[in-house]
């Protein structure tokens, strides 16, 4: 039993506390939850997590706690920890939610509470803070290898209004993708700057999503100051998770508005194509299927821009998954769950591959380094095969 001293409500926003009370357990979210799809375990479903957490609050705070003494069953807490960490935080449940609960934001906050209680993070997630402290990235890789993929013929300016943040996952796990970013950026003719490898540290997202928030302010201050010093007015990244935390949380972690705007690279390249600064001349007679990353579509609402970029390629045919846009299906890489619940992630990735193959796509197009890495992994040793390419990797190869 856990005593009353710990406040389950402390640290949650008013909106999140209201959200816990708003769930009607209609269970419509279950149809959209990727973890449900591959495990079928109702205990880890969104309404059950909300029900349990609401019970923790009611049992320790308020009228019921005064009457019953205010204790929480430790076993229930452990079940909850597993449920909240097995989730990929993709937010599909929130999109399907009939009362509009913002789950993509609620789950990380509840993970944060588990970290406060000493019950999270779980498995290898627990090493992330130490890795970031030591190497600046969550993969514990040497910083000097960070930009090993960088095309030598491209010049990075010391100062420029456009800054490019490559991100840890792109640099260490999805190098063709970030290479494509740089080629596409270069092709627009704009001068851009980057931080040196030892200064381009983690954006904070993996720590945020696993509930380990202690280092966040420091990381954000370091990055924002470094880009500001280089005169950056527009910061571009291809990683939806990085873009998400930069756009949504950096201002509050920094303590004031950012001195620059944030854009996903597909937004920037779509603009460049519209302005004819970037013309894709090479033809590609292929059937492409585009997968919306959860933190790009549901996270920051970037849905049309990647499609605009793809449709600008002469001769391509663009087809859609059944679940696309705001309702896109998680590839399994989300929420750092792939680091612990590997099998779930592989199954989720294979569901995407299955559909892409069934629809007769020649190529599966991604725009997220975590998806890129996980989908390649999911295809290893799998009977169904499809060519996987990042959107900027493709653009980079056609210009």
């Amino acid at each position: 039993m856990t005593e009353r001293k710990f406040s389950f409500s402390h640290g949650l926003s008013k909106r999140q506390l209201v959200e816990l009370d708003a769930c009607t357990r209609c269970s419509e979210c279950l149809k959209w939850c990727p973890v449900q799809e591959v495990t079928g375990r109702r205990q880890i479903s969104p309404p059950e997590k909300i029900r349990l957490y609401r019970e923790f609050i009611e049992n320790t705070e308020g009228l019921k706690a005064r009457i019953t003494g205010g204790k929480v069953d430790r076993r229930l807490l452990e079940d909850f920890v597993r449920a909240v960490y097995e989730c990929t935080t993709c937010g599909a449940c929130g999109e399907a939610c009939e009362v509009g609960i913002f789950t993509q934001r609620l789950w990380p906050v509840l993970r944060r509470k588990m970290v406060e209680m000493g019950l999270g993070p779980i498995g290898p997630q627990a090493n992330l803070t130490e890795f970031v402290k030591k190497t600046g990235n969550v993969y514990n890789k040497p910083p000097e290898e960070r930009f090993s993929w960088f095309p030598e013929h491209i010049k990075v300016h010391e100062r420029a209004e456009i800054g490019y943040y490559a991100g840890c996952t792109g640099c260490y796990e999805a190098q063709p993708m970030v290479r494509g970013d740089v080629l596409a950026l270069h092709a627009t003719g704009y001068a851009f700057t980057m931080l040196p490898p030892e200064e381009e540290v983690c954006c904070g997202f993996p720590l945020f999503i696993t509930g380990q928030w202690d280092m966040l302010e420091d990381l954000v201050r370091r990055l924002v100051s470094a880009y500001e010093t280089r005169g950056v007015k527009l910061l571009i990244s291809s990683c939806p998770c990085c873009v998400n935390i930069m756009a949504r949380d950096w201002p509050s972690l920094y303590g004031r508005p950012l001195p620059f705007k944030i854009r996903h690279i597909s937004q920037f390249i779509a603009e460049a194509i519209k302005e004819k600064r970037l013309i894709i001349k090479d033809h590609l007679k292929e059937r492409l299927i585009y997968h919306d990353p959860c933190y790009l579509s549901r996270g920051v609402g970037v849905i049309e821009e990647p499609r605009y970029v793809l449709k600008s390629i002469p001769d391509i045919e663009l087809i859609e998954f059944e679940r696309h846009g705001l309702y896109s299906q998680c590839c399994g890489a989300g929420g750092a769950a792939r680091k612990v619940f590997h099998e779930n992630a592989i199954k989720m990735g294979r569901l995407i591959i299955d559909e892409a193959v069934e629809k007769g796509a020649d190529r599966l197009i991604l725009s997220c380094p975590a998806c890129y890495s996980k989908m390649h992994e999911a295809m290893e040793g799998y009977e169904k095969q499809i060519r996987i390419t990042d959107i900027m990797e493709l653009i980079g190869s056609l210009i």
């Binding site: 008013k14 909106r15 913002f102 509050s252």
Partner: protein, 260 residues
């Protein structure tokens, strides 16, 4: 053409009714305060609907959005499923109308306003009858859904019992109305079509005693339900309209990538 309040109800039962009502209201208010107090423990987020809101502000916001277009038309639910949206509207509108109707009856009786008479009373009766029917239809739908999909959906201990309690309230209400009509046999029965149907059902057993039994069931279930609201999932009636509004604002902000 009007309606006599507390017809057939002996004075002792009337007193029991007033005491139970007060008790139910006190439990409801204590629960409401307890739940809202937990909301107030939350931190403020910039540009949030709830930023800086105290107890009164939260109550007002909840009340205001209860009557927002989003809520009145159950837009979010409707966009996901037409049938569930319609059934939710039935329950939402039905209950709201019944609640307002009950208050009007109370005001008319205690303040001796004498407004519920003639055609106004007939129209009032008709609307309340339809509202009851709407609540019945919606509740029955969700009961069937919860039973039919029991393997596929998450249910807390209170989900099904609460819906059953709701349907008992509605059915006992119609029974009370039917028995009253059957016993008094007024000339304007057509204006209460569901009540008239129940009057026909009770035609063989329409004694004041039966009336009192059903009246007691109706009162007890209704007052229990009110007291239970803040301690059950039904509390979503204070929360869901806020989250729905918040989701709408969030989706509007997303389109323009707001972070500039």
């Amino acid at each position: 053409m009007s309606r006599e309040a507390f017809i057939y109800i002996p004075w002792l039962l009337k007193i029991a009714f007033y005491i139970s009502s007060l008790l139910s209201l006190l439990i409801f208010l204590a629960g409401l305060y307890s739940r809202f107090s937990i909301w107030l423990k939350g931190r403020d987020e910039p540009d949030d609907l709830l930023e800086g809101k105290g107890l009164g502000g939260l109550l007002l916001l909840s009340f205001r959005y209860f009557f927002s277009k989003e809520c009145l038309l159950a837009r979010r639910v409707m966009s996901k499923s037409r049938i569930r949206g319609i059934m939710l509207i039935f329950i939402y509108w039905g209950f709201t109308i019944l609640f307002i109707g009950t208050i009007l009856v109370g005001l008319d009786h205690y303040l001796r306003l004498n407004i519920l008479k003639g055609y106004i009373y007939l129209i009032f009766s008709f609307i309340l009858d339809l509202a009851g029917l709407a609540v019945f239809t919606g509740t029955a739908f969700f009961i069937v859904r919860r039973i039919r999909l029991s393997e596929d959906i998450i249910s807390g201990w209170d989900d099904l019992p609460l819906l059953v309690l709701l349907i008992i309230i509605v059915l006992s209400g119609f029974s009370v109305e039917g028995l009253r009509l059957s016993l008094t046999d007024p000339p304007f029965m057509d204006w209460s079509p569901v009540g008239a149907l129940f009057a026909a059902l009770f035609s063989g057993v329409n004694s004041p005693k039966t009336y009192i039994v059903f009246w007691c069931i109706h009162v007890m279930t209704a007052l229990s339900f009110i007291a239970f609201i803040p301690f059950s999932k039904q509390f979503h009636m204070f929360a869901a309209q806020i989250t729905t509004k918040d989701a709408l604002l969030r989706s509007q902000r997303l389109g323009g990538f707001v972070h500039d």
